[in-house]
Amino acid sequence: MKETQYARSSKAFRDGSINRRSFLRTSTVAAGGLLLSLYLDFPPSAHTEAQTPPPKVYPPDAFVHVRPDGKILITVNRLEFGQGVQTSLPMILADEMDADWSQVVSELAPAADVYRDPVFGIQMVGGSGSIAHSFTQYRELGAKTRAMLVATAADRWKVSLDQCRTENSVVYGPNGKSARYAELARDAARKPVPEKVSLKSPSEFRLIGKKVPRLDSAAKCDGSQKFGLDLDLPGMKIAVVAHPPVFGARVKGIDDKEARGIAGVRDVFEIPLMKGSGVAVVADRFWTAKQARDLLKIDWDLSGVELADTSQLWTKYKALARTPGNVAVARGDDKAIDRIPVARRVVAEYEFPYLAHTPMEPLNATVRFEGNKAEAWVPSQFQTMDQMAIAEVLGLKPEEVTFHTEYAGGGFGRRAVIDSHVPREAAVIAKRLKGTPVKLVWTREDDVRGGYYRPMHAHRVEIGIGADGMPAAWRHVIVGQSLVAGTPFAAMMIKNGVDESTVEGTSDTNYNLTNFHVSAHNPTVNVPVLWWRSVGNTHTAFVMETLIDELATRAKMDPIAYRRKLLKPEAKKLRAALDLMDQQSAWRNNLPKGHAAGIACHECFGTAVACAVEVSIENKRPKIHRVTVAVDCGIAVNPLTIESQFHGGLGFGITQLMAGGAITFKDGRVEQRNFDGYTPPYIVDAPVTVDVHIVPSAEAPTGCGEPPVPVISPAVVNALAKLTGKRYRSLPLKNI
């Protein structure tokens, strides 16, 4: 998900007007502390200045709560699902606030307007935007809170503001005066919120830029951290749904006699799905519900339903790739390639399969419907959308659905679904069981077979090479389903018939390609698709970086030197990352026999990454001994988290190299079922060591969630190419 795309989409939610207002709210909370309730509001444009914003009853609309015991509770306007914002956003606020970090605790915000992403305009995690978009927001919140505390102390002591300084949750004044933030909070909350505050210069940062350990480690190491799936409410029932064997099929008949015979089964009924229908089973316990579902005999109506078939799709996609698609880039002469001798042309066809996200915590949502209101608990990347969807199903207004953001066991895009199909299923079932909380659980099989995959893609690239060994013409056709066709996002993301997410990473390449033509086909297939961590870059970076490597080899040039020569002068971040990686990977020149180094670099979401991998072949699979990676992400807010994101993002990227890294279809049915057939990387498949190097920078921070993913698989196959002399253009990597 690209910032530009969502910046535009956010306008759809606010009609282009950012109406900034400062609010101050003071309220006594149950715990007896005071809520220093500061926020910047971005009300929808329907509310003009003359109108009063609607009253907000829930949530408390707060980001900072200074408790009487000195604890500082900072609210995070995001989902925490591994990326570490539960620690790094509070760091940003606490730094400007001069808060005592050892006293900071953080919590995830429920769904509310005030917690919307300041750029995207909806409350969400995606597009690697959490730090990039909320850096200034959280700094200002911290600085304003500090200013109010200082003003309170200055009043109390009858001194001027510039006689006060702050450190570690204490305001110091002249003549040895001091006051703890907790003592000042009650009065500070009554101070006007300053419109403008000055922010620290980077040399004054005390937390930003430091390796700060995660706040949620202990709870995640002793089993006490609760995730959405762990939720337990009084009287709660568990629901599972029998989904159709083919997307969009409908229930024709149900024989549920045996299923209902199991003790603890409460109800069995047909429910509508986004397409077609399914059968919900509600029981006291998960195991009961699952056993009952296994005993259902369902007659499915497949009439009029397209049966997706992988081999047929490849035939169709490859044929399409030989014809020009809708134009994404048309630079220079599109006939230039035809004038280059055939001996100096490369024609390359690539295949990328459907990929499931399979976050470790299976999908789930809990909803309780009470007629005129509802409450929902969802590990959600799309709080605004999911809340709206639940409300729509229940016939309520979004604000009548109290929406709790639950900790999620991974997501990688799978919990950011435009149609909110999982919360919708939960809401449909909860509606029937009015008054009873219902936890909908998707089993792993439901997840692997449930669609919303990274789409399969075919690429066909024709390159004409100049006499100097550099590309002189580049014609590139990409075939793959649109992620947003038919959704409210289409208007923002589809241009000239091309879904930008299909071509990103190629159309906006940092290589200086002349006579460059990119076009795309977005066929419609009866398989739901979705963004998968780093979106289009998952396949486009693979194609670009393997081809550039191939060209460098043909030109008998060092792959790093070749890239430097071809990069645009303005690709400063990528050049910096490439240089740093080059400096840090001297090991490339001294490899054991049977080992080879592979290179790749790519910029996406504003962050540039270059990596070098050391690979050998063990048991007919790539063994990744080492990765040296360099990143330019602007100011590195928490280098420890960035390092984690790189360890993890590189590992996630290896999914597409796994022999079992593909979802395939036969007669409309998914051929995989669980981790026995769809196999993500385990420890043996991951790099043994990874060293992460960060380019020093004073630029605004950019995200690190997605940018690590695209580089690893091209780097690995570039190394394999050196070992075997073969080029790898079809994923998953079945045979080496």
């Binding site: 316990r285 976050p359 470790m360 984690s644």
Partner: protein, 154 residues
């Protein structure tokens, strides 16, 4: 339905469930011990790993009827275990977790490894941890933390 008496983290627990119910769901839903996680249900991901009579076991495929009087040890019992504490400390020191969902299982597998092999090699680690999936791919730090815990234990 049948009644079973279990020894979980040294405490005696009585549950009444269908004999086919996996130990995982007895822990999670009957005993409300949700530290042990459901990830796949077919013993392919390791998120549900507990110790059964000291051995790392995938609780999602062990029906309650087969547990018998064997001791069940879960992530919630690790604070009482010297190796468990060493591993938890190493995990925190190395900032291993990301989403954290698989980490109970990872820690249970690591503790079992270190009890058997106090000084594990990379090959030992890959073998013992080989079936524990982490979609956040925290593997680099898991490896480091196991080695750190091994150092601490000497």
């Amino acid at each position: 339905m049948a009644t079973y008496e279990l020894n979980v983290n040294g405490l005696s627990k009585k549950v009444e469930v269908d004999p086919s119910t996996p130990l995982l769901w007895v822990l999670r839903e009957e005993l409300k011990m949700t530290g042990t996680k459901y990830g796949c249900g077919i013993s392919a991901c390791g998120a549900c790993t507990v110790h059964l009579a000291g051995e790392a076991t995938r609780s999602c495929v062990v029906p309650i009827s087969l547990v018998g009087n064997r001791r069940v040890t879960t992530i919630e019992g690790m604070a009482q275990d010297p190796v468990g504490r060493a591993v938890q400390h190493a995990w925190i020191e190395k900032d291993v977790v990301q989403c954290g969902y698989c980490q109970s299982g990872q820690i249970m597998s690591a503790v079992a490894l270190l009890k058997e092999t106090p000084k594990p090699t990379d090959a030992n680690i890959e073998e013992s941890m080989g079936g524990s999936l982490c979609r956040c791919a925290t593997y680099v730090r898991i490896r480091e933390a196991i080695k750190r815990a091994a150092e601490q234990m000497t």
